[in-house]
Each structure stands twice: as C-alpha cells, then as structure tokens.
C-alpha cells in the first residue's frame, strides 16, 4: 500500500474512506435486499472495487460528468447520488433516481453529473467522448469520465472512442476497471496482450496502470489525468487493476470460471481494510474514528432502506412519458 505522505490532509483522507465505506455498506444492504426478494433483476455489486470510483470521483466537480457501466452503484454514489435514491431505484420506486424506470443498470442523475449507468458494455466510452466534445465546442469547463470494464476494452467502442478523443484532444478520462473477467470470461483468454493501459499508445494518448485496490494510487493517477483534461491537453486511459469479490450479478452461480482460492486472495486485498491500515499507521485516524464513521454510514444506509420502502410506486400511466421532449 502506498504511504499517503502529506499530499492529502486528514479531511481528504477521511473523505476517501467515508466514500468507500458508504459504497460497501450500501452494496451489502443491496445483497441482503436481493436475497430477501425485495429487489429483482440484475444487481451487479461493486464490492472490492470501491477504491476506483472513490479515487477518481474525488477530483470531480458537480458540473463534471460520469458515464458508467452495468456495475455502476459505486460510481453513482461517488458522484453524489444518495443511498436513498439508489436503493429506492433498485426497489422500483417513484422516488428512485430514475423514477423506477431503470433499476440497477440504468441509474441517472444528471443534476449531479451522473449521465447514466448502462446495460450495454462499451457505451460509456463514446458517450463520454461526446460529452467532452460538447464541452470543448461550447467552451464549458467540464471533464467527462467513462468508467468501463476489461470487457469493454475488447469492444469496438474502445477503438473508435479512444481514437476520436485522442485526435481531437477531448477533455475526457477513460477509466478501465480491469477486474479480470468480462462477466465470467477471463480477460487473459480474450486478450493476447494482458495490459489495457498499453493500448493507449496505439492511439497516441497516455496510458497508466495502477493498483485499483489502492485508493491513494488511483487518486494520484486520476489527479494527473483530470488536470490534463482540464488543461485542454487531451484524454488519458487509466487502467485500474481490481477484482469483484461477489458473483457477476446477485443470484448467479459463481463457479466454473474462477477458484475460491483466488477470491479469498483478493478479499485479503480489500481496498477498505488496506486503507484503514494506512490511516491508522499514519495517525490520520484512530480505530474509534473509523468505527464511528462505519456506524454513521450504516445508519445512513438503514435510513435509506426505510425511505425507499415507504416511497410510492410509480404510476403505470406514466410509462410512456418523456419519450419525446414535447
């Protein structure tokens, strides 16, 4: 684990910690709700990958935008969607961030810069490049971020999106969360070159690989990439090597493609536990501080469940609204 040094103050360090724990607690709650049959459909948890969304989104302003994936709960929370709106959405409520239209895979809150999570792999890459094009055209100070997985790196959208972003110097950050499996297909089986970051050179943009379970490493790399984008010097590809410790989606059989030993080994690299050790060793927090933060966030999530549960169902008469602007 990286030593934090004093690049970040205690408040910033604890903000990173809070964000990761909020995502973890929320995901754990969603797992329980899924098991209890209170949410349905797909539920792709972000457990094990919290450091990536946290480290990147810490640099973003509300006016910056994020285009996310099917595994997008963490991005939504880190960009400012509240646990109340997120859990209500997965419960299909009118009070959800997409009014119950989207569920786990279609979270929207443009008011805070969440431009959508998506059920289509790779789509975030080109959409974020487009948002960046608009920012440049309209001279808006806005950074666009695409989160995507290793699976998307083998989709044509990656090639076309990175090429266009590079040739037009677009203010965009491409964050590949390489969790080693595209659904259940090992990246090593579908890519001869194991490095996603190395592909950046083919398009003429910088590619950086970092330990995606080290929130400070992600934070540092994203800092430079976001600065580059804001300065108008173009896009960056950031490959964050990480791992999901839950099945691809809740309720799915998690065997036949990876070993229990591998999962156990990655659980031992938990980004939250590793960061706790750093904070304690550095004196940035005491065990009591961290326990209090954990308890506060647990209370926030439990409140969010009550809020979601008590919210109204959406009105079926509204299902065709907003197809057209007028």
């Amino acid at each position: 684990m990286t030593t934090p040094g004093r690049a970040l103050g205690n408040d910033q360090l604890l903000a990173l910690y809070r964000q990761m724990v909020q995502i973890r607690r929320c995901e754990e709650q969603l797992v329980k709700l899924y098991g209890a049959g209170r949410i349905w459909g797909a539920c792709h948890t972000y457990i094990g990958e919290e450091a990536v969304a946290t480290g990147v989104c810490a640099h973003l302003r509300p006016t910056d935008v994020v285009f996310s994936t099917h595994r997008g709960h963490g991005h939504a929370l880190a960009k400012g969607v509240t646990p109340r709106e997120l859990i209500a959405e997965l419960m299909g409520k009118a009070t959800g961030c997409s009014g119950g239209r989207g569920g786990s895979m279609h979270l929207f809150k443009p008011e805070v810069g969440l431009m959508g999570t998506s059920g289509i792999v790779g789509s975030s890459i080109t959409l974020a490049a487009g948002s960046a094009y608009a920012a440049k055209l309209l001279k808006q100070d806005r950074v666009s971020v695409a989160f995507f997985g290793d699976g998307a790196a083998n989709n044509g959208a990656f090639h076309e999106g990175l090429n266009m972003a590079a040739i037009w110097d677009l203010p965009v950050l491409f964050v590949c969360e390489n969790n080693m499996y595209a659904t259940e297909v090992p990246f090593a089986q579908v890519a001869k070159n194991p490095s996603v970051a190395a592909r950046a050179g083919a398009y003429g943009l910088p590619g950086v690989a970092v330990d995606g379970n080290d929130v400070l490493a992600v934070h540092r790399a994203a800092d430079e990439a976001v600065r580059r984008a804001r300065a108008g010097t173009g896009p960056t590809l950031l490959e964050c090597k990480t791992y999901r410790t839950r099945p691809h989606s809740e309720g799915m059989r998690d065997a036949g493609y990876r070993t229990a030993e591998e999962v156990t080994a990655w659980k031992a690299r938990c980004p939250i536990q590793r960061f706790e050790a750093v904070l304690l060793a550095d004196g940035a927090a005491t065990a009591e501080n961290l326990a209090r933060i954990g308890a506060e966030l647990q209370a926030e999530i439990e409140d969010a469940v009550r809020y979601a549960q008590s919210g109204p169902e959406p009105d079926p008469a509204t299902v065709a609204e907003h197809l057209y602007s007028a």
Binding site: V65, F67, S98, G99, R101, G102, H106, F108, K109, P110, E111, M115, G116, S118, G119, I120, S123, T126, L127, A128, A129, G130, S131, A132, Y133, A134, A135, K136, L137, L138, Q140, R142, S144, G156, A157, H159, E160, G161, N163, M164, I167, W168, A320, E321, H322, L323, Y324, S325, A326
Partner: protein
C-alpha cells in the same frame, strides 16, 4: 419565388441554423473542407472551421455515439452519413442510446441530434448504397422520421429538425437531390406531423413517400387525362404521422394506394394501411393497396434496376386497378 435544388435548399437551412446557434455542429466523412459527398456542407467549413464541420474517421458507430453524448451534454449535432446505409454500423448506439436516453433519464437529458443521409434504390450504386431504413426508426420509440419531397420542405424540415430536442432521422432520397423548386428565404420552418395534399382529387388517395410523391404526381397528371381525379398526399414526416390528413382524404375518395419504394413487409405502407383500416374502415370502397420496391437488395446493372422501384406507369396502373375494384 426563387428556385433552388433540394440539396441547395437543405444546405441553406443548415447554414441558417449554424449561424443562429453555436451549439450546432456537423460530423461526417468529407463533411469538412470538401463540403460533403452530396454537397450538403459546401462553403460552411470556411465559415465555421473544423470544430463545427468535423471530418471524421470511418467510425460510424463511434461518431454516432459521440454525437449522442454531445447532444445529451447540450450540443446540437448533425450527423451526415452521406449514404444512409452507413448508419447500419451504428444501429446498436441509435436504438439503445440515442433513442432511449431521454426516456431512461426521465426527461432530464435531451437528445437534439439530427441523423441525415441519402437513401433509396436509385442509380447504379448497388446493394450497399441504396437502402431505406425508415421503418426501423418508426418502429423504435423515441425517433422522429422525416422524408421531404420538395426543396422547400427540405429546408423547412431540416431547420425544424435541428431545433428539435429529439433525435430526428432526416432522409433524403437520392432521386430528389437535383430537383428544383421554389424555396422561401429566411425563416421557413415546416412543422413535424403536418402532411400536405399536393394535388386534390376525388377518385383515389395516393400517399407517396419521398421520390414517390413526385412520381405519384406525374401519374396523377396522366390519369387526369383519362378522367380520373387522383388526390396525392405527402406525409412529409412519418413519425409523427399526420393520420388525420390521410383519413380526411380517404373519407373523400374511398380508395387508398400507398406508394413506397422501400420493401413491403413491416413497412411504411403496411403501417399507413393498417391505421387507415383501424380508423376508417367504413370509408373504404376497396381494400387499401400498396405499391413497393422489389423485395431484394438493389442491383448495379441498369437492366436489373428496371422495375426495382415503382415508376410512373406502374403507379398509374395501380390506381386504375384500384379504381376498378
């Protein structure tokens, strides 16, 4: 009124909208300094430069999605596919992102994007440069589908399309590009969902699409000499479709022929016929009839092209047959 070609009129509409709104930009292969394969952007690069007249790599899927993201973020892109066939590489983006983002975001994102291109089995272009994809986009919730048939409508509908906050398929028939006609100067906006009755008559209603409107008018001229007064209706926009104007015409004539050079199955003509039968069955004195292109890819040889799409004689014959029923 001054006369212009269809291409010149559409270009004037585009130029006016680019002057009016700095958020409008065009992407396409050769849309920059070259001015577009079909001269859709001639002269505009010199005025607006590469950021607003953007030459792209051959990445139809990529630049369609890029423009979708740009539209969601406040720009107003015009994607010039040149030949509309090339948008087939972007179907996934169009159907899953462009069409759905407004709905998925509960109306909080807008999607002001124009997707334009030349269509139709016309000339010796062969199977990959002759498609007509209007029904695909009528079928998917979220799109507007526009098919002008005159220079004035090309200008007025393109201006409306660029100001529209929804995705608009703007389909330009290759057989109309050099058609000349009167075009109003300045602010000429044609609203969506308003058909025009191009020629009045009482014997039968002919609904034409794109180039077929012009051919139906020629057929109507011939039929008038035989004493058959044919009414010709141009829907101008297929989504939204101005059904009331078509129904009013059918109420008057009692007979309906839809002429569409695209394929028949699940096509525009099938949709129009069904809606008319659902709404005005009792007005019909004969079954609605369709006249479509041959259900096969477009060939190269002029000999093979003969009869691929409805010509004036075939339309006149179909009307005579319909009126005899």
């Amino acid at each position: 009124m001054r006369e212009m070609t269809f291409v010149e009129a559409a270009r004037e509409g585009l130029a006016e909208e680019m002057a009016r709104d700095p958020a409008v930009f065009v992407v396409g292969e050769g849309s920059g300094a070259r001015g577009g394969n079909f001269n859709t952007t001639v002269g505009l690069y010199d005025l607006y430069g590469p950021e607003r007249l953007r030459d792209t790599p051959i990445s139809e899927r990529g630049f369609t999605a890029l423009c979708t993201g740009a539209a969601a973020a406040g720009a107003r892109p015009v994607v010039d596919f040149m030949f509309i066939d090339f948008l087939t590489d972007a179907f996934g983006e169009l159907f899953n992102q462009t069409a759905k983002l407004q709905w998925m975001s509960h109306g909080r994102l807008k999607m002001p994007i124009v997707l334009r291109g030349c269509f139709g089995a016309f000339g010796p272009f062969g199977a990959h440069h002759a498609g007509n994809y209007a029904p695909f986009f009528m079928h998917v919730p979220g799109f507007r589908v526009v098919v002008p048939s005159t220079p004035a409508d090309a200008k007025g509908l393109l201006k409306t399309a660029i100001r529209c906050d929804d995705p608009v398929m703007f389909l330009e028939h290759k057989g109309l590009l050099h058609l000349k006609g009167p075009v109003p100067e300045g602010e000429h906006l044609v609203p969506f969902g308003q058909a025009t009755v191009c020629r009045e008559g009482t014997a039968a209603t002919v609904v034409g699409i794109g180039l077929m409107v012009r051919r139906a008018l020629e057929a109507a001229e011939q039929l008038a000499a035989d004493g058959l007064a044919v009414e010709v209706v141009d829907p101008r926009t297929l989504a939204p479709l101005d059904l009331p104007t078509i129904l009013a015409s059918v109420h008057k004539t009692g007979r309906l022929l839809i002429v569409d050079d695209d394929f028949a199955p699940c096509g525009v003509a099938a949709e129009v016929a069904t809606q008319v039968m659902e709404q005005a069955f009792d007005d019909l004195d004969a079954p609605p009839r369709r006249l479509n292109g041959v259900f096969a890819p477009a060939p190269y040889s002029p000999a093979l092209m003969e009869g691929m799409v409805p010509g004036v004689a075939a339309i006149a014959e179909a009307v005579r047959t319909l009126c005899a029923e």
